[in-house]
């Protein structure tokens, strides 16, 4: 810190509003997400869980975005790849594992939904579903509620670039634009929608769509942690200042197949995938921290051990945890339908 000339690049995190501690926490969270994801892929291959939809390659943007938000006030509507985001806003690996194993204790859905279908009232994460993009109008509705109640909060919603072609994107964005609502729409443009490459999804740019809704749209390098943090921080500020919505198109690459049921090499080349591994934002941000003197290989090693242990415990716990009871299938169709039937509502 005494070499003023070189201090600037190494203190970029402070410039964008992250203190040293948070800058490191942010990295740890990305790494945890990566390791969690890899564990799930392993568990699926081992036949311990049925299915996994990976977020590998998208953790940088997800976690950076979450760090720019207020977990006490904002509303979150992440999509199915947002494991990094969920960890950043406070869901534990044990809880996520319970969901992967579809166990009763899963806080997202009590083991009812596929993994990746997040929800937690406690964490302000609105329950999500599989039909893509339905969450965009929900985010707008939550933002409308914030505005009506004069809360200093934004709604943050994510979706893929394929999903940005659904009518609900258009209708939700337009509604938010007209009402100038505090909502951040973050498109995680990973360049594929299952097998369909971006060129067959849209001929324009997702970020350009904001123009037609009367609010700013920007493209950000989703592998650049600090740039993502800055973009979302600014969007949040716009939101809580009454300046309305922001659309952020975070550019990234889906490094894994679409899901564990997908063979991606049927529609893209290994070279293409490998080339994108080189742009991976997680090592890139690590490099930044190391250069800034905030992180070291020793710390990395120690942390990875910690993570491995945590994941082991989470997996064991989830594996042993009980399934929901068969007859509870009938509960929670309507309020109070569990009363007197042994339900827990």
């Amino acid at each position: 810190m005494n070499q003023k000339a070189t201090a600037a690049p190494q203190s970029l995190h402070r410039t964008v509003g992250l203190d040293d501690n948070r800058a490191v926490e942010m990295y740890k969270c990305m790494l945890l997400a990566r390791k969690f994801d890899e564990r799930c892929l392993l568990l699926q291959r081992a036949g311990k869980i049925n299915f996994h939809v990976s977020g590998v390659g998208q953790e940088t943007a997800q976690v950076a975005a979450a760090f720019a938000l207020d977990t006490q006030k904002d509303y979150f509507l992440p999509y199915y790849r947002d494991y990094g985001f969920m960890l950043a806003v406070g869901m534990t690996t044990r809880e996520l594992m319970l969901s992967a194993f579809a166990k009763a204790e899963d806080p997202n859905s009590g083991g009812r939904q596929m993994p990746g279908h997040f929800g937690s009232k406690k964490l302000r994460v609105l329950t999500g579903s599989s039909p893509v993009t339905t969450q965009v109008p929900h985010a707008v509705g939550a933002a409308l509620a914030s505005k009506m109640r004069r809360e200093e909060a934004v709604s943050f919603v994510t979706f893929g670039e394929g999903s940005s072609n659904q009518g609900d994107f258009h209708e939700g964005a337009n509604f938010a634009g007209v009402q100038k609502l505090p909502v951040i729409l973050m498109c995680e443009n990973n360049q594929y929608a299952i097998s369909v490459p971006i060129a067959k999804q849209l001929a324009g740019k997702v970020s350009d769509r904001a123009l037609g809704y009367g609010f700013p749209g920007l493209r950000v390098d989703g592998n650049d942690a600090l740039e993502m943090f800055r973009a979302v921080s600014e969007a949040r500020l716009r939101g809580v200042s009454g300046e309305g919505p922001t659309l952020i198109e975070a550019m990234m690459y889906r490094l894994s197949p679409h899901s564990t049921s997908d063979n991606d090499l049927a529609y893209r080349t290994k070279e293409e995938v490998d080339a994108n591994w080189k742009k991976d934002g997680v090592p890139r941000y690590k490099q930044y921290l190391v250069e800034a003197g905030l992180w070291s290989e020793e710390q990395e090693e120690a942390y990875l051990k910690e993570v491995a242990q945590e994941l082991k415990e989470a997996t064991e716990y989830a594996d042993k945890a009980p399934y929901p009871r068969a007859e509870d299938t009938l509960l929670h169709v309507y309020a109070g339908d569990g009363n007197g039937q042994g339900g827990n509502d």
């Binding site: 083991g111 109008p137 929900h138 609900d168 939700g172 569990g338």
Partner: protein
């Protein structure tokens, strides 16, 4: 107790609930300055401001979806669909989202929205301003559906719907808006969701219906009285969940049942009512279960002869009821 139109009763319900609960708000197309294309929300924006009576862009999936999002975080939105014909763009939000929010979150989240939509024909509205879309949404677990026939019920059921912790589709009949005028209490009552209502007692035939056609049934019943045929008439009031006990009890009373609705026959609510009866009290029937419904044509034409052909009427009810009585 003031006389008021069915449409006034709906407006009053919203007004009372909005006065009493600041989380209640209305959103939809033209609901603001114009007060809705039928005047259902007239005056509400004046009283509650633009924030609580929101003219939305012309986009029903957003109207429903935004309402759902607001409801999840604690508001009580009343989403107006200008015509029920135009709620189909919102089907995915209603069936995939609203209906499943409690269930999929294992009771962590809920979705207390009301979707109001005018149903029914006989107003020279043609194919797309006359439909009864009940059967599309009916049978979707997680949704409640009500369809009042009277001004009293309209007020009481709408208040119950607004307070209900689950999503409720409120199908108001546009032909009833101005046709039905009656005493409606100005105090705070609700008509409970899930309970059918016996409109009339009789011993010869049972008529089970909801919404507008009940008026035709009541008129026909009066005439049949003079012929010595007495009719037992049950208003389902709530079409989901159905009041099975009330249905079975009403059928038992006469052993002959006519189910009536304006929605087309195949796959309508009446099919389920018939199936419940066939399941629960088959042996108490003295005649096959009859249904008198809209024809299985896509929707009601606008020209008068075909509109008349399509619509139910007192005369059609009279014939069907008499025929059943004489069976």
């Amino acid at each position: 107790m003031p006389m008021m139109e069915y449409i006034d009763a709906i407006r009053l319900a919203m007004k009372e609930e909005m006065e009493q609960d600041s989380s209640v708000f209305v959103l939809g197309e033209d609901v603001g300055v114009k007060g809705g294309v039928f005047t259902t929300t007239k005056g509400l924006q004046d009283q509650f401001g633009e924030d609580r009576v929101i003219d939305t862009p012309l986009a029903e999936s957003a109207i429903a979806g935004v309402a759902i999002g607001a409801a999840m975080v604690g508001m009580k939105p009343i989403a107006e669909m200008q015509y029920s014909d135009f709620m189909l763009p919102a089907t995915n939000q209603i069936i995939s989202e609203a209906a499943k929010i409690r269930y999929r979150s294992n009771n962590d989240w809920d979705c207390p929205i009301v979707v109001r939509a005018p149903i029914g024909g006989g107003i020279f509205g043609g194919l797309y301003h006359s439909q009864c879309p009940e059967s599309i949404f009916f049978g979707t677990p997680g949704l409640k559906i009500v369809a009042p026939y009277s001004a009293y019920d309209a007020k009481g059921l709408l208040k119950a719907a607004i307070r209900d912790p689950d999503p409720v589709l409120f199908f108001e009949n546009k032909k009833c808006y101005k046709l039905i005028k009656e005493d409606v209490p100005e105090d705070d009552y609700v008509v409970p969701i899930g309970k059918a209502n016996l409109l009339r007692e009789g011993d010869d035939i049972t008529v089970i219906s909801y919404s507008l056609p009940l008026h035709f049934a009541m008129q026909a019943a009066e005439e049949l009285d003079k012929e010595g045929i007495t009719s037992h008439i049950l208003d389902l009031r709530t079409i989901q969940p159905l009041d099975r006990e009330a249905i079975v009890e009403a059928v038992r009373r006469t052993g002959k049942v006519l189910i009536v609705h304006e929605d087309n026959k195949t796959g309508g609510v009446g099919a389920e009512v018939a199936a419940i009866i066939a399941e629960e009290c088959l042996y108490e029937l003295d005649a096959p279960i009859r249904r008198l419904c809209g024809p299985d044509a896509p929707a009601m034409p606008i020209n008068p002869p075909q509109e008349k052909f399509f619509m139910l009427s007192k005369d059609k009810l009279l014939d069907a009821m008499r025929e059943l009585a004489l069976y």
